[in-house]
Every structure is written in structure tokens, then in C-alpha cells.
């Protein structure tokens, strides 16, 4: 219930801040928006129907149906968040069996899956918590996922080097960074 409420609040807030979102064309989507991201002129959003839509000018949208395009290749994904770094885009959610799923793309139409393994004391594990949100830390050039179970999961450049940052007692509701990359 807490998660649904959080998603609804995000959608509501974002729709107010996007002029022309529904009235002036807007993305051709089937589902409801669950998360948006913007950087400079680019905007991205994900829906609960597995769509990823983008615009460069706020007027002309392209919609990419992830699950339809990748049917039979990646599993069916329920997206919960999308984030942009300026260098690529990260979209995360869960597979039908609840496993976390994280994908990255540079231009929004070709997506590769990001490995979610991490190491503790030399042993390799897989992330099991589900991503709720994502933020990009420009100063260290890495994404950070806010996951269930209060987990903060770091995805640096090196796909071998993921880290479980720390574990909170409650789910992290939002995360953001404000330092530019130098």
C-alpha cells in the first residue's frame, strides 16, 4: 500500500509540472505513468504497461513498448522508475517472479540488462530486493537504486563492482544528488 501511494504521488506531482502533457499531444501510451525523468531538453517516462516514452522538445513523443519489443528475450518487466545521467538512461523494475530488473540504454530504443551481482567477503550474491526508485550521482558517475527492504544499491560504471551501500530500517522514499561531474 505504501508503494502504490508513493507512485501515485510521484505521477500526480509530475503531471502538474509538465505543460502540454495531456492537452498538447503527449505520449501515445496505454498505461499509467509511474515515473518520469528529465535532463536538459530530454524527458523520459515509464508506464505500468512496460512502455518507455521520450521527448526532446516536450511536444513530439516517441513510445517504445519494452515488453512487446523484447517479448521472448528479456522477461516481462514491470517498471517502477527511470533515471537519466546525460550519458545514458536507466530503467528499473521487477520481473514477474519478483526479481529485480535493471536496463540501460543510450538512446532509448536498444536496452541491455545490467547485472545485479555484488560481492561480500569474496562471495558473489545477486540483488533480491526490488528497485523502487533510481538517482544518478554525477560526482561519482554512478546510479543508485532505492530498493525494498531499505536497501541502497550502487551501480557504478564497472558492471562487476556493484555494491550494497547500506540498509535502512524503512524503505527509502526518494534520493537525489546535486553535484555536477567535474
Amino acid at each position: 500500500m505504501k508503494r502504490l501511494l508513493r507512485i501515485a504521488v510521484i505521477s500526480l506531482a509530475m503531471s502538474f509540472s509538465w505543460s502540454g502533457f495531456a492537452a498538447d499531444g503527449g505520449p501515445d501510451i496505454k498505461g499509467k505513468v509511474v515515473c518520469t525523468a528529465s535532463l536538459d531538453k530530454m524527458k523520459y517516462l515509464v508506464t505500468d504497461a512496460g512502455e518507455i516514452a521520450s521527448t526532446r522538445d516536450g511536444i513530439t513523443w516517441k513510445t517504445f513498448d519494452f515488453n512487446e519489443n523484447y517479448a521472448g528475450y528479456y522477461g516481462h518487466v514491470d517498471f517502477s522508475c527511470i533515471c537519466m545521467s546525460g550519458l545514458n538512461i536507466l530503467a528499473a523494475g521487477t520481473y514477474e517472479d519478483g526479481r529485480p530488473a535493471v536496463f540501460v540504454s543510450t538512446r532509448g530504443t536498444v536496452w541491455s540488462e545490467r547485472s545485479l551481482t555484488y560481492k561480500i567477503n569474496g562471495q558473489t550474491y545477486e540483488l533480491e530486493a526490488a528497485p523502487l526508485g533510481a538517482a544518478y550521482d554525477a560526482s561519482l558517475d554512478r546510479y543508485v537504486l532505492e530498493c525494498t527492504d531499505g536497501i541502497y544499491f550502487v551501480l557504478p560504471n564497472c558492471s562487476h563492482c556493484n555494491q550494497i551501500g547500506f540498509q535502512m530500517t524503512e524503505d527509502i522514499s526518494r534520493l537525489s544528488f546535486n553535484r555536477k561531474r567535474e
Binding site: N69, Y73, R107, T109, W111, S112, N121, N157, S159, H160
Partner: protein
């Protein structure tokens, strides 16, 4: 003809969906038909198929496939694929019950296998690992490319990853690795069962600095020691992959070195396959080594050097950007992907399952009974017996244990009831793991032995090195003042302290050992009440003593930062966390020198219960060792002592039990001098990390079911102090520094390389060599009879070491090198003749002067023995080194591209390496070129390839040198030519070969002429967008809907231009002004005057005011006479001519401020600015061209001329209006072109801030605005 590749996502998706039906995966067992695309057609070679697949990819798809997480491409039926998997001693994975998978079997690791000296055993282990890998792959959860084995010889036992290496001697490392490689690849000649990758190429032998360090060495050490295993695996086993390492070698990052990756690995040794970078190695090129400045440059450096796959996201984020910047070509990307897909195809991934012998492994193969049995069997063959004496009061040696005589056994030590699997271990089933205690319990029960077993684990393995990483400290005062000090900025420190960030992001003080310290001068301690230290606990942690004045000075605070005390940890990748402690105020005045002194926690006392158990037992077996906290990836050992209180434990047990057996399981050499000769330590057995069945194997060995037959795979040094600095990659001794390894180390050791005794004894006799006079072309056999003269069946490893006593002393040849070995099983009383074959070609040295392999002439003495010191006999041969005639060995041919368009040509380049690892002069060789399909691509006698029509062809170069012929080949794909067959305007043909912009001058009109076009290849689509009016531009695109490539043609309808002398009072009707600022624009005194303002047109700065432009949509020459009120200055003042489509597509020729680009002739410091003439072109916002010339002196008047012909722009300038100097040319396709003049202040950019050395006298302040006066603008239209 210029081609433009533009991604058209909308068209691509719809076209792709239509295409998907025809190129979907060939179902299992579907036959090849005429419509089967080449990449799915098994009648073609893997490389031809790979190149066809790559030719069909869009640019974004290609970029997404350059990382280890290769994207799925559904429209081509390509599944996603993770290149990164590990299988060092078992597939690195865990159970996956959802697909019926148990946790994979964890076999004994590399150091253990290395001490078995049994490459066939390792081949068996690897074969079983590959079986499990295939079973896991069938479930779709992992790939088949494994980044194993580690083939680095153990140069220094402190290396944190020693546990992953097979041995100290390159021959041992190479021979054992060969077993692994063969086992993993499987026997099938067509398909690979799994794909091994040898790593880390090369000389990555210290962890703490691997991202930033340079391993420096001469070419002898490089070739003879570090590269040797790679050479052997590539040349003898067709190794299909290597991983480039993090470090630099001789200051060049291996991941950026064409020499190491291409010239040596591919062209000298002949590697065919793919190169992956270590994870983040491409990033390290610019963030660790600062070898280049940007991510795009690092992408280019990696791709051009030959790294095909980036374990990271640099390639996947920056490849397109690097391409757009001209740092790489599409051919660089294509080559990398062809290499990657060729390997994937060699696993059978794209073939019908019925053709691939490795597709029938069910999930039940993983951790099957067979796998478990083999894991246990291997674990019995790895242990090395180091000591075995008769304990006081006993009749027989301590081992094997006498089950009849022994009534009680105490199992003691931290590993007595533990399973330590070591590095890169998967997660096997708990039920498959056996601790020694469990193993003994079962053994005793199964055998029905009457033995009481007592477990008294005791002891700890807490690491005494790498205690902490320290990032900063803060001092707090009662008034709220907090001062922070970067801990890495210490004033001085104890020896060995380092600073680094490893795989993390924070710089920290590292390599902290017990007793290390760092000191900080001028620290204000007045009224400080609290200290907070930001630190990270990578292993067990330690204690920080805060002292003043010296490492033994007044103690003002202590922080216990240990796991045992419950402190949170960050791990080797983690960032620091703050820990606080109160400070004892001692009334300090004035600045002090603060010391942070680091101490290991005190060793725990030995539990009296443990001593009691030892005392009351007939035998006390002490299980001790290392674990992943002792040393691991990112963390070297700083000490070779057994961690924790284990030495204390051994001594304490030996004190009370005369029959103390020590069983050590470690990552490699440990210091044993403190206990090895204790009388009561009756036996010592050592293994490397011995897998999930370690506990089951041990009782079998100790009770004598199996006689230990292993031998040490490395030298066991008496003390770490005998070793040179870990950062020293040279091998030979000099200037008081000891040499390294059995090759060059001369001091006494605890145990020599190859040492290991047995329960039985062996005698050697009848030493023979098949030839006494040898050349490098010979193959010889050394034979010896080995007799088991003891009482137990057992294995012996017969070792052959080579020395060259006649080599000149000045060459400092190795004292001895291992050149042959064989492990044999000999029953009691029997004699076996052991024949060991040696290829004399392998007995080479490296000639540093001639840069090639050489053979010393003279005696080659082959020492045959049971260890490198226990030599039982010798045989000698005399080598005639001068008889060596190198032969052609490897031919590599390529033409620089993988995908061509019909009509294109490319020149084949060929290299030929010889058996001495030098290169032949190919111009003197006989080379014959053949195309497998001349209708697709022909090749002439000189190797020039001409692409003819769509399809694939393999071009082969057959090179003959001194009668020996070797071939090299490459595949190319020819895509249809994106060219027009017809182009008409109102029915009249205007098409000219090589042109893609046409200019036609007409009168202005609301209706434009009609353009029509057809493509040369009927499979291509032609789209024409007509011009709306005159002036206007019609755009014709030829589109390949398979690759989404397109070429673009422009037919520009223009009106006659209007020259202007600006003699009026205002601008004429022909002119329009973009971003008009009337206050800065005037026509008077016979000139158009523009006063500059901040802004420009370059890159992201699209804000230049007062662009005065007129329609010029045809070919023309434009000229102006320009004067400025002052010489253009900072930040980037410029004025001149511009051809303009929009802010992101233009060409400008300007008089500008001075330029400090690379290669410019610099004025003397303090000299007045003279200005420059610059030609700048932008194409879709990307800088296409910048040409700049600094003038000799400031120009009062300058004449600028720009000529447009099609897409070509030629710029010239003159100072007198008569003699023009050509500045440069550029090509850019502009549409609906306007031409005119502009003047602006420009913007400051980063390049301008980097003053060249010696230019510190230059004024960098922004200049005041200037006024550019254009006396005239002349335009002459060309053609009609």
C-alpha cells in the same frame, strides 16, 4: 561520395518488425534454405556469419553490444548475452531452484591444482566444470564465456590473488593452464563447449595499485616470464580469448596498447578470438592512468588497441560520441563485434541444437554425484606433504595415521570445522560441503574405527595486514569548530604506506600493517575534545592510537575499529565511515605533529579447552590457514605469517602433544620457520583451497588411503623481508636486491619450488637423453627409471630443470627453469620408466638487442629430480643455437574494414611473424591473394579488394617465406551500394558520379522543380522530399532498411546572389538578420559595421547576434574585405564570412583571436596578439573541422574568400587583396543555405584556459567589444 548514416528509429522499428518474420531464429533442426540469412546459415564459416550479422546492426545496436552486458536484438533473433562469467574452480553461480539447478560444484582451486602437477587432472576438472556450465546455459541464466584461468606466474606471494594462480614457474603455469583450457573448450573440432579467457594480460601481480600502476620491466622478463603462458596457450591450444589488465606495462595501459594486444597477442602469437578488458579497465585508461583525457578518447584507445568488449559502460555510453568526433571509425566498432560474435557462434549459439554436441546437458548435471566424486578425487591429489617424522615415543612416522594404534584424535584450529573455498567460488550446496570434522566423523564411522574424535576449533584467522583504510579525520572543539584533515595528505609515514581508492571512489590511506603510522604536521590541538576518523575495515580491522610528537608519543585517544567489536564495515570497495572518540586534553599550545598509529588487535589467548583436548589425544591435528580476509582481490598480503593467532596455536598444541600434525590450507606460501622444525610437530601437510570436498579428502590422505603426491608450486620463502618491493616487476637480482622465484632467488628458503615428500620413497636411476647434440628444431626425450622403494603405493612428480652453464655470465640467465615434468603412480616395489618429451624449440631465451628469440650455444644440463633442489641425476646435451633458422609461423591479414558497400575498395595488409617472434619483411615474401567469392568481392594480385555485390567473402593471403607457406584470412560483408541510378529535375538527368549535392540557379518561385530518383540496388528504398519553393532544397535519401543506413543527396535550388558594397544607409532587401541587435548594427561610411557582443555559433553556444545573411542555395564564391577596430582578442572574438543552414550546421571563415591548438606556431611570450584566420564547420552540432593559422602580424585589413562547390568549401585569405593563401577545406552537406557575414565576441572554452608552457605572459582577460567593418560582400554564383 559522402554517406551519412542516420538512425531512423521509427522506420527501423516498423521495418524491423516486418523483417523479423524472415530472420527469426532458425528453430532447432530447421534446414538451411535459400532464405536463411547468412548469419544463420551453417554453410558459411563462423567469421563470415559474424560479419554478416554485424553488417545488419544499427549504430545504437552496435554500441549496446560493446559491453559485457550485450543487449538482445529481437529483430535479428539475437538473445541478450552476458560475456562475463567465471569458472576458475567451478561455475561462479548459486542454486536456482526455479530452473532445477543446484549450486554448482566447487572444485579445488588453482593453487591446489597447481600443486598436483597433473594437467590431465585439471583437464578433467575443467571438463566437468564445462559440463555444468552447459547445463546452466541451457536454462538461459548464464553465458558460455568464462574469464578463467588466471595464468599469471606467482611473481610475489604477497599478491592478493596468489590463490588463483597455478604456480611460480611460467612453464608450470602454462602447462597447467593448458589442461584447464583444453578441458573447458572440449574436444569437438567445430564447437567450443565453453570459452576460456586467460588473464590478466599481463603483469597484473599486485592488487593495491592495479588501477594506477605501471609494471615496468625489460623485454626479457616480459617475454620469458610474464608473456610465456599466453604464448604457449595461444600457439599450442588455440586459446580464444585474453583479458587485458588494469595496469600499465612500461607506462602504457595494456588495455590501450596496440603493441601488447595486437602486435604481440594476435600477430606474433596468432590469437584468434576476442579480447575483453578487465572490469573498468577501459575507464582506468583515463581515470586511473590519465593516459588520455576523456571517455571518448579511452573508447578509441581501447578499440584501436584491440579490446573488443568493455566490462563496464564506457564503450556502451561513448562509442557513438567517439565515432561522431572522428576518434574511431565504424570499422573499429565492426571489428570488435565480429570478434565477439565469432566466439559466440563458435559455441553453437546460433546453430540448430542437433549440430552442437554440447546441448544435451540437463540441469541434473550440476553438482551430480559424478561431479561431487571428481571434486573429492581431485582434492585427494592436491595435498603436499612437507614434513613427516617419527614422533617421540612412537615406532612409525606420524603419517599415515595408524588406525589400529590411535584411539583418540583432536581436531583443532579455525579450519577444523570449516570449509574455505577461496576466491571466485560459486555457492555450492551446503550438503555438498564437508568440513574436516565432518569428513573424519564419516570416515571413522564408515571404516568402523575405534577412535574418539574431539573437535576443539579454537584459533582465529584474523588478518594482521590491510587492517584499515583511512580517509580523513576531524577534530572538534567545544565551541563547535570542526577542522577536517585529508588523511592521505600526511606529512610522513612508516614504510609501506600507500594511498589509493582501488575499485572504490574515495582516496584512502592503505597498506596499513600492524605498527604502521601516518603523521600530520601543524595540527591545532588546543581544546580539541573529540576526534572523528573516517575509515573502512577491509578485513578484520585494527586499533588507531592517536599520539602526539612521535609514534610512541603521548596517547590522546584510541579508536577500536574492528569487526569483533561490532563496528560497521565498508569492505574493499566501500567508502569510509566515521568513528568517534574522546580526546584527552593535555593542555597543548601551538601546532603539534599528530600521529595515527595503527595496531592489529591483540592475538586472542588460546582457549584452555583446546589445549586440554590436544593433551588428552593420541594425535592432535591442527587445521590452520588463510581465507578471503587474509588477501584477496584489491588487497595484497603485507605479511606472509599465518593470520590471527594460528602460529601461537600450533606452538601451544605442540607443547602438549608430541604427535602434532599441522594441516595448512592457504592461498600460497606462508612463513613456517617458527614451527616447522619443532620436534613435536611431527608432520605438516599443505593444500591450496581444496574445494567443497576438502573435508572428505583429508582423512583419506591422513589415514593413507591415498598417498600425498603433490609438490609445491612456488618457493616458500623464510621471510617476507627476503623479497623485493611488491611493486618491483623485475626478476633478476641487482644492487643488493634479491632476485625472484626459483629462476633468480639464491637465499635459503623454507621449502623450495617443487618440494613435497611422500609416505613412500622413490629412487631414480638410468638417466638417459635421446640426443646429446641438439638444435632448436629437435624434440628429445629424457628418461629415468623411478622405483618405489617404500611401503606405500604412491605418486611421484619427476621434474626436469634446465640450466645453461656455458651461457655468458653477463647475460644472467636463470639458475634453472622448469622444462618438463610428469606425475606417475608407482605401486610398492615397482619401477616405472618415465619418459618426458621436451621440444627444444621451447628452450629459448629472449635477445633484448635483436628483439627476438635466441638460443645460447653450449651445454644444456637437464637436472632430473624430485624437487628443484633434490636433483637425483643429470643429463646433458650440447645445443647448437646458431643453427636456428626462424620459419614463418603466423600470418594475419586484414583490410581495415569488415563491412563494405558495393563499389568500395580496401587494401589488404599482411603481417607474418616468425618462430623467433620477430616479423618477416612482407615486401620480400611471396604473397598470393584469393577471394572465396569473387562475385561478392574480388582481390587483385596486390591485395586490393573491390566490393562487387551483396554477400560475404573470405579473403586469404597465402604467404611463402623460404619455402614455407602460411595463410591468414579475413571475412568481409558487402552491403548494397547506397547510390542512385537516376536523378532528374523536371525529367532532365543531373546525376553525376561522386556528387551528392547539386546546385541549380533559378528565379524565385512559389513552385519548385520536381525531383525524381531511383537507387542502383532495387532492395533499397528511395525517399524524395521535394523543395517547397525556389529558393529551396529537395532531399533524396537512399535507405537500407536492414541496417538503417542511408545516404543523402541534396538538390539545391537557389536564386542569384546579390553583391553589396554597403554604400547605402541601410541593408538592402536581399538581407535578413538572425538575432538582430539593431544597436550593434549599422551601414555607414561605405561599410556594414557590426559591434561584437558575447556569444558564438560554436557547439553548444548558439547565440551569436547579428548574423547578416542572404539566400545562397547554390554553388558560389563569396568574398569580403574586412577591417576591425582592434585585433580580435579574448575570449574568442571573430568576424568574417558564414555559410549558414542553422546554428548547428554552418561553415564560417573568420578573422579571430589567436589560437593555441596543438601544433600551432606559438608567438614569443609577451609579444602582441596578431589574430588568426580560422575555418570552422559544424555538422548537426558536431564540430567537423577547425583550421586555424596565426598571422605574423595584426591585420589592418583582411580579405576573406570562401568557395562552395557541392559539399566542398575552400577557404582562403589575403592581406593585400591580390595574393590569396589557401587556409583549408571542409566538406559538409548544408541545405537551404544562407550566406553572409557575422562578428561576435565568442565564448571562453576549456582549451583556451590551458596555456602552453612559456606563454604565461599572455593576457587572458576578456577584450572589450570591437567593431568589424565589412567594406563589401561579393557573391558570384557558379554554373546554372
Amino acid at each position: 561520395m559522402k554517406k551519412r548514416s542516420v538512425l531512423r528509429a521509427g522506420v527501423a522499428i516498423s521495418a524491423a518488425l516486418a523483417l523479423a518474420a524472415s530472420v527469426a531464429f532458425v528453430p532447432a533442426d530447421k534446414k538451411v534454405t535459400k532464405t536463411t540469412p547468412i548469419y544463420l546459415n551453417t554453410n558459411y564459416s563462423f567469421e563470415e556469419r559474424a560479419v554478416d550479422l554485424v553488417s545488419r546492426l544499427t549504430l545504437e545496436e552496435k554500441e549496446s553490444l560493446l559491453g559485457n552486458n550485450m543487449a538482445a536484438v529481437p529483430r535479428l533473433g539475437v538473445k541478450q548475452y552476458n560475456v562475463w562469467s567465471e569458472a576458475l574452480h567451478g561455475v561462479l553461480s548459486g542454486a536456482n531452484p526455479s530452473v532445477g539447478l543446484q549450486g554448482p560444484t566447487s572444485f579445488p582451486g588453482s593453487v591446489a591444482l597447481g600443486s598436483s602437477w597433473d594437467p590431465e587432472l585439471l583437464e578433467l576438472e575443467a571438463s566437468v566444470i564445462a559440463d555444468e556450465a552447459r547445463a546452466i546455459f541451457q536454462t538461459g541464466t548464464k553465458g558460455l564465456t568464462f574469464w578463467s584461468p588466471v595464468v599469471e606466474p606467482i611473481r610475489d606471494p604477497r599478491w592478493g590473488r596468489t590463490g588463483e594462480s597455478y604456480g611460480e614457474d611460467p612453464f608450470l603455469a602454462a602447462t597447467m593452464s593448458s589442461g584447464f583450457v583444453r578441458g573447458l573448450m572440449g574436444p569437438d573440432e567445430t564447437y567450443m563447449k565453453a570459452v576460456p579467457t586467460a588473464k590478466h594480460y599481463f603483469a597484473n601481480n599486485s592488487e593495491f595499485d592495479r588501477h594506477v600502476s605501471s609494471s615496468n620491466m625489460d623485454s626479457r622478463d616480459m617475454r620469458e616470464f610474464y608473456l610465456y603462458p599466453y604464448k604457449e596457450l595461444i600457439e599450442n591450444d588455440n586459446l580464444p580469448s585474453i583479458m587485458s589488465s588494469y595496469n600499465a606495462v612500461n607506462h602504457v595501459p595494456t588495455s590501450a596498447s596496440e603493441l601488447y594486444l595486437d602486435t604481440i597477442a594476435r600477430r606474433t602469437y596468432g590469437m584468434k578470438g576476442y579480447v575483453t578488458g578487465d572490469c573498468a579497465a577501459i575507464e582506468d585508461i583515463y581515470t586511473g592512468h590519465y593516459y588520455v583525457e576523456t571517455a571518448e578518447e579511452a573508447t578509441a584507445a581501447g578499440l584501436k588497441a584491440g579490446v573488443d568488449s568493455d566490462c563496464g559502460s564506457v564503450y556502451q555510453r561513448f562509442a557513438i560520441s567517439a565515432l561522431e568526433k572522428g576518434l574511431i571509425t565504424m570499422a573499429d566498432i565492426d571489428r570488435a563485434l565480429v570478434n565477439m560474435f565469432t566466439v559466440r557462434m563458435r559455441t553453437g549459439e546460433f546453430d540448430p541444437q542437433s549440430m552442437v554436441p554440447y546441448t544435451k546437458y540437463p540441469a541434473s548435471v550440476v553438482n551430480s554425484e559424478r561431479s561431487q566424486a571428481i571434486a573429492e578425487e581431485v582434492a585427494t591429489r592436491t595435498p603436499v606433504l612437507l614434513k613427516n617424522t617419527v614422533p617421540a615415543g612412537f615406532a612409525n612416522k606420524a603419517l599415515p595415521l595408524d588406525a589400529a594404534a590411535i584411539k583418540s584424535i583432536a581436531l583443532i584450529g579455525p579450519q577444523a570445522d570449516d570449509v574455505e573455498l577461496g576466491p571466485y567460488s560459486g555457492r555450492p550446496e551446503e550438503s555438498s560441503k564437508t568440513t574436516p570434522y565432518q569428513g573424519f566423523t564419516k570416515y571413522i564411522a564408515d571404516k568402523g574405527l575405534d577412535i574418539d574424535l574431539t573437535l576443539a576449533s579454537g584459533g582465529s584467522t584474523k588478518s594482521k595486514s590491510n587492517l584499515l583504510y583511512v580517509a580523513y579525520f576531524e577534530l572538534s572543539k567545544p565551541d563547535g569548530t570542526v577542522t577536517r584533515q585529508d588523511a592521505t595528505q600526511y606529512s610522513f609515514s612508516s614504510e609501506g604506506i600507500t594511498v589509493g581508492s582501488g575499485m572504490g571512489d574515495e582516496e584512502q590511506v592503505r597498506s596499513i600493517d600492524d605498527g604502521s603510522w601516518t603523521a600530520y604536521e601543524n595540527i591545532d590541538l588546543v581544546n580539541v575534545e573529540q576526534i572523528t576518523i573516517g575509515l573502512n575495515i577491509p578485513t578484520e580491522g585494527g586499533i588507531v592510537e592517536v599520539r602526539v610528537g612521535s609514534p610512541e608519543g603521548n596517547l590522546i585517544s584510541t579508536i577500536e575499529a574492528t569487526k569483533a567489536s561490532g563496528k560497521r564495515v565498508g569492505g574493499v570497495y566501500g567508502a569510509s565511515m566515521p568513528l568517534e572518540a574522546k580526546v584527552n586534553k593535555l593542555g597543548y599550545n601551538g601546532p603539534q605533529t599528530l600521529y595515527l598509529v595503527y595496531k592489529a588487535p591483540e592475538d586472542e589467548e588460546i582457549d584452555p579447552a583446546v589445549i586440554k583436548a590436544a593433551k588428552e589425544s593420541d594425535v592432535a591435528i591442527v587445521f590452520v590457514g588463510t581465507d578471503e580476509n587474509t588477501a584477496t582481490e584489491e588487497a595484497d598480503r603485507l605479511t606472509l605469517l599465518l593470520p590471527g593467532n594460528q602460529v601461537k596455536l600450533i606452538k601451544a598444541v605442540a607443547e602438549v602433544n608430541k604427535n602434532t600434525v599441522v594441516v595448512m590450507q592457504t592461498l600460497g606460501c606462508v612463513e613456517v620457520e617458527e614451527f616447522k622444525d619443532l620436534a613435536n610437530v611431527s608432520a605438516i601437510l599443505w593444500t591450496g583451497y581444496n574445494g567443497q570436498a576438502q573435508g572428505a579428502a583429508i582423512p583419506k590422505v591422513l589415514f593413507g588411503d591415498v598417498t600425498p603426491g603433490g609438490k609445491l608450486n612456488a618457493t616458500w620463502y623464510k621471510s617476507v623481508n627476503d623479497l623485493p618491493a611488491i611493486t618491483d616487476y623485475t626478476l633478476r637480482a641487482n644492487d643488493g636486491k634479491n632476485g625472484r622465484t626459483l629462476w633468480y632467488f639464491t637465499k635459503p628458503v623454507s621449502y623450495e619450488f617443487g618440494y613435497g615428500i611422500s609416505y613412500t620413497t622413490f629412487e631414480y636411476s638410468n638417466f638417459e637423453i635421446s640426443k646429446s647434440a641438439i638444435t632448436p628444431d629437435d624434440k628429445i626425450t629424457i628418461s629415468v627409471d623411478v622405483t618405489n622403494t617404500g611401503s606405500y603405493d604412491g605418486d611421484e612428480v619427476v621434474q626436469i630443470y634446465m640450466t645453461t652453464p656455458d651461457s655468458p655470465a653477463s647475460l644472467q640467465r636463470p639458475f634453472k627453469r622448469l622444462k618438463g615434468f610428469q606425475r606417475v603412480t608407482i605401486p610398492v616395489g615397482q619401477t616405472k620408466t618415465v619418459d618426458i618429451d621436451i621440444d627444444c624449440a621451447d628452450l629459448w631465451f629472449w635477445d633484448m638487442d635483436k628483439d627476438c628469440i635466441t638460443y645460447d650455444s653450449g651445454r644444456y644440463v637437464f637436472e632430473v629430480g624430485s624437487s628443484s633442489k633434490d636433483i637425483r641425476g643429470t643429463v646433458t646435451a650440447t645445443m647448437n643455437g646458431k643453427s636456428f633458422k626462424p620459419e614463418l609461423k603466423v600470418v594475419v591479414a586484414d583490410c581495415g574494414v569488415s563491412v563494405m558497400r558495393a563499389g568500395q575498395t580496401a587494401q589488404t595488409k599482411v603481417t607474418g611473424s616468425l618462430t623467433d617472434d620477430s616479423f618477416t619483411d612482407i615486401t620480400k615474401a611471396k604473397v598470393r591473394y584469393i577471394s572465396s567469392n569473387p562475385n561478392v568481392a574480388s582481390v587483385d594480385a596486390n591485395g586490393l579488394v573491390t566490393a562487387k555485390s551483396m554477400g560475404v567473402a573470405t579473403i586469404t593471403a597465402k604467404v611463402t617465406v623460404d619455402g614455407k607457406t602460411v595463410s591468414g584470412s579475413y571475412a568481409i560483408k558487402v552491403n548494397p551500394e547506397l547510390a542512385l541510378a537516376t536523378l532528374t529535375v523536371d525529367g532532365k538527368s543531373i546525376l553525376k558520379s561522386g556528387m551528392n549535392q547539386y546546385s541549380i540557379v533559378r528565379k524565385a518561385s512559389a513552385k519548385a522543380p520536381v525531383v525524381k530518383a531511383t537507387a542502383k540496388d532495387s532492395k533499397l528504398e528511395v525517399v524524395v522530399k521535394q523543395a517547397d519553393e525556389v529558393p529551396g532544397t529537395a532531399i533524396v535519401k537512399v535507405i537500407d532498411n536492414v541496417t538503417c543506413d542511408e545516404s543523402e543527396y541534396a538538390v539545391c535550388f537557389g536564386v542569384k546572389g546579390v553583391s553589396d558594397d554597403f554604400n547605402g544607409a541601410a541593408l538592402g532587401k536581399a538581407w535578413n538578420v538572425v538575432r538582430k541587435n539593431a544597436s550593434a548594427l549599422s551601414v555607414k561610411n561605405g561599410a556594414l559595421n557590426i559591434t561584437t557582443a558575447k556569444g558564438d555559433l560554436t557547439l553548444a553556444n548558439n547565440n551569436a547576434e547579428n548574423l547578416v545573411l542572404q539566400s545562397a542555395n547554390s554553388d558560389w564564391t563569396i568574398e569580403t574585405k574586412l577591417s576591425t577596430s582592434a585585433t580580435p582578442g579574448n575570449p574568442g572574438q571573430n568576424a568574417g564570412l558564414v555559410a549558414y543552414e542553422d546554428d548547428d550546421n554552418f561553415v564560417k571563415l573568420v578573422y579571430a583571436n589567436m589560437s593555441f591548438g596543438r601544433g600551432m606556431r606559438m608567438p614569443e611570450a609577451g609579444a602582441p596578439a596578431t589574430g588568426s584566420v580560422q575555418l570552422v564547420a559544424e555538422d548537426n552540432g558536431n564540430n567537423k573541422t577547425t583550421v586555424a593559422v596565426n598571422l605574423e602580424s595584426a591585420a589592418d585589413v583582411i580579405y576573406l574568400r570562401l568557395v562552395k562547390k557541392g559539399v566542398n568549401y575552400t577557404a582562403s585569405y589575403s592581406l593585400d587583396g591580390k595574393t590569396y593563401t589557401k587556409l583549408g577545406e571542409t566538406e559538409v552537406l548544408l541545405k537551404d543555405i544562407l550566406a553572409g557575414v557575422m562578428a561576435t565576441d565568442g565564448v571562453r572554452n576549456a582549451a583556451a584556459m590551458r596555456m602552453p608552457r612559456g606563454m604565461t605572459g599572455m593576457n587572458m582577460e576578456d577584450a572589450a567589444s570591437i567593431t568589424a567593418s565589412f567594406d563589401s560582400f561579393k557573391i558570384t554564383n557558379s554554373l546554372k
